[in-house]
């Protein structure tokens, strides 16, 4: 896709037409991937919400455990991938990308995420649930409840990220048109 001439944002240099860079193509590829991941996460959430709050861990079936495992992984991957897209956007916008907090502050300024602290809390939540020390049933139950609560926020941020890219990188490759 690199090298193709397509309309770009209110164009920086050459009157509405620019070259779709490899980097912009990468951003669109990440967006595409996020759409797929969102479908899987939403599917897992629907199944998980029927289980939480988990009143009895012992009564969960192997299928239930599989549902929770899939949800945990899909949640983690979705936020991680969204974080990578944010980094790619910051690079495209020639912003500071180290430390990662700089990217989060930029995203907060763009109103893509509500609060840097909330992003970090959710990141900690997903790290904690994967933590080796977590064998306590009550804590795991609380973790899953909080994860389900955080999904709508992640989805809203994903919507805003998509909107930002559509507005600013409107040179949509053919596969996205």
């Amino acid at each position: 896709m690199a090298g193709r001439k397509l309309p770009h944002r209110a164009d920086r240099q050459n009157g509405g037409v620019t070259t779709v860079t490899t980097h912009l193509h990468l951003i669109w590829k990440k967006l595409d991937h996020l759409v797929r991941m969102r479908t899987y996460l939403t599917y897992s959430l629907a199944h998980t919400t029927t289980l939480v709050p988990i009143s009895s861990w012992e009564s969960l079936t192997p299928e239930n455990h599989e549902t929770l495992a899939a949800f945990r992984i899909r949640f983690s991957e979705f936020q991680e991938h969204m974080g990578k897209l944010m980094r790619a956007i910051a690079i495209e916008e020639e912003q500071t990308t180290e430390p990662y907090s700089a990217i989060l502050l930029y995203m907060e300024k763009l109103r893509i995420i509500d609060k840097v602290e909330r992003w970090k809390e959710i990141r900690e939540l997903r790290n904690a649930i994967n933590h080796e020390y977590e064998e306590n049933v009550e804590r795991l139950t609380a973790f899953f409840t909080e994860l389900t609560r955080a999904v709508p926020e992640l989805l809203a941020w994903h919507d805003r990220l998509t909107e930002f890219c559509e507005t600013n990188y409107s040179s949509i490759p053919t596969s996205h048109a």
């Binding site: 900690e124 904690a128 609380a142 909080e146």
Partner: protein
Amino acid sequence: MRLTSSQALQITEIIHRHVGNSARIWLFGSRLDDRKRGGDLDLYVEAEPQSIMNELRCKVNLEECLDLPVDLIVRWPGESSPIARIARTEGLPL
């Protein structure tokens, strides 16, 4: 111990603010070894039960203030898990 007195003070202040003044804190793991370099800050805290999100906010706050990766474990007083035993017996109370 690879921790300054000012850092130790910051740690206790942040933890008490988030999980209560009665919390007991132990530093354990690689930060106790003066021959090592870098590494996470391993903290074990005994505190009254509270919300998971409170603990996570405490960890985020510690990492921001200290600019160090923190591994924070918060448990009820007297828990007998292996990690609790290691932290209490080999760790250093702050």
